[in-house]
Symmetry: C2
Subunit: 343 residues, 2 copies
């Protein structure tokens, strides 16, 4: 039985969408046990709408909720907040495997680093979403927001963390890791990228494929793209914006005339396939990598199916021993003495 704690009060559509997603996940996986952290009466009322196995769900009553505009480092001191109580339970209870939240990204990062804590040797936790790619799979983009400023060793560790996720989450053996840069040649980029390139080339524990460009996240043959949190965030949101624009234009154009409306009837299954291949939420959320347990940050605007996918993803990577694999890969590098070899 995998026990996962869910922040029932986090996100734009909480608690309704969160609770519905929990029930969906529970009904889909007979080996799942859920703890819903949230206001008892609200969560109970939402749960009352569905039928599910009552022996595999419990409510942890929390009287407070963190908003999207609260200051993260302040917010995680509020002991009655659902996210804070969930993080403390995750830290203290050995049998809780993972946490899922659609709440404030900043508070999730703060809670992860301050309450739960990082795996020994990990310098910083990193946010890692899975971006749909042209091979019908996913490219992991790490970091994409937790660390606006990075040092070369941090980028090297992001490569390790995301490699472990590619293995545990998607069954990819020896995942190919690219360094997100403004060109593919070895000398490209700023000093951060130039030093990181040299370190990654010699690190050994990852399958380094060299520099990659923004287009390679969705079109290339890499499994992992390593970025500082600033440019990774910009890459992610630029792609999301483009994807959204495409769907908006498609909707407008395909409903424009009688002719296109008729065409749409023929095209419906194809368009459905297309949308699912471009679904940035298919995996359900971004992993907060480098922590002692599995933490999944779902979109603030998560719908029930996104929450269900996030929970299923959390359970799956726990079962595949993500944290153990991170520790194993990390131990293969002497992080104290990581210096670029002069050629």
């Amino acid at each position: 039985m995998v026990k996962i704690i869910v922040d029932a009060m986090g996100g734009d559509n909480a608690p309704a969408a969160i609770v519905e997603g929990c029930v969906t996940a529970l009904n889909a996986d007979k080996d799942l046990y859920l703890i819903l952290a949230g206001r008892q009466e609200d969560v109970t009322a939402e749960l009352g709408k569905y039928s599910y196995d009552k022996t595999r769900i419990e409510i942890m009553d929390c009287r407070d909720t963190i908003g999207m505009n609260d200051i993260p480092t302040e917010a995680i001191k509020r002991k009655e907040a659902s996210l804070v109580k969930a993080f403390w339970a995750l830290k203290k209870e050995d049998d809780i495997a993972a946490l899922v939240t659609a709440g404030s990204t900043g508070a999730t990062i703060a809670g992860g680093q301050i309450i739960l804590g990082r795996i020994k040797g990990v310098k910083r936790a990193a946010l890692c979403p899975a971006i749909p790619n042209s091979r019908g799979g996913y490219t992991l983009l790490c970091d994409c927001g937790a660390n606006a400023e990075c040092k070369p060793e941090m980028l090297c560790q992001f490569g390790v963390l995301a490699s472990a996720y590619a293995e545990a989450g998607f069954g990819i053996k020896n995942p190919k890791v690219g360094l997100l840069n403004n060109g593919t040649e070895e000398h490209k980029g700023d000093p951060l990228r130039q030093t990181t390139y040299k370190l990654m080339k010699d690190m050994g524990v990852i399958n380094f494929a060299g520099n990659v460009e923004g287009r390679d996240i969705m079109l290339g043959d890499i499994d992992v793209a390593v970025a500082d949190g600033f440019s990774g965030n910009i890459a992610l949101k630029s792609m999301e914006g483009c994807g959204k624009l495409v769907l908006n234009v498609m909707k407008k154009e395909f409903g424009a005339t009688l002719r296109t409306k008729i065409g749409y009837l023929f095209m419906k299954p194809a368009i459905k396939n297309m949308r699912s291949q471009l679904d940035f939420d298919a995996v359900g959320g971004a992993l907060l990598l480098g922590l002692k347990k599995v933490v999944v940050k779902s979109h603030g605007s998560s719908k029930p199916r996104t929450i269900a996918a996030s929970i299923a993803n959390a359970a799956s990577i726990y079962r595949n021993n993500l944290v153990g694999r991170v520790e194993e890969l990390l131990s293969g590098v002497d992080w104290q003495n990581l210096v670029p070899r002069e050629d």
Copy 2:
């Protein structure tokens, strides 16, 4: 008559696609005069395929060509190279208004800064493509590759340069300028963004709209997004990659079955509209802003219509006095004493 010099040997499809694009542009604009810099016999052979007004075209014979892998600062010393000869002519001949090339980006930037030279007071030239946006117009992304490392004053100037382009190129009055960041709140980002925000807020000559995120480039209500060349490049290529993936998936899905093929016949005009709204090449290329004359860098893989669009764009912004407008806006700021005001 607007006289433009075109690097006939630059780009993957040179000289054939370049020459064809030149003829298209010439036939569309009776007030255009073109100088084609390239190997005389090759350009003549290509020109022989078309009919056009021979009094408005001339060839400048150049015996050398710069490749995509040549080192830019070395390449621009090669006096017989078409791009180098074109830059020297642009610098020396008062009546040449602009240069268009699909050749090496690095060599174009080097030639622009070293041979042609910057407008007085401009710290660095910046590459500025026009990205299709959800309002059916374009958002200018400046810089997107010329400067991997930037200082706050450079970003402020990019805002000025691109504002002038928005006015001269697209007739936008008082264009809205956003600072590309990893969040919209004032305090967001790294020290570079935090300082730049404070400077831009007080600069006066631009219409500063605050921080914007990656998605706002295509979905927001800004006309200009200011970025360092590193993250701007990643944003641009991430969006291009997403757009390309969409078109690939659409092509595959819409041709998958008899049903979808029938649907496609109905949908054809809508899909054509959709493609044109997502066309990153519609404007023809990126402007290299901050130079003494108009320089347009077209995609390396430019097709004839892209070259024709680049030439038309170059002629249009010359007629609308881009360089004069840059000078005017620049003079409104005391660049020597630009320091953030402490609140």
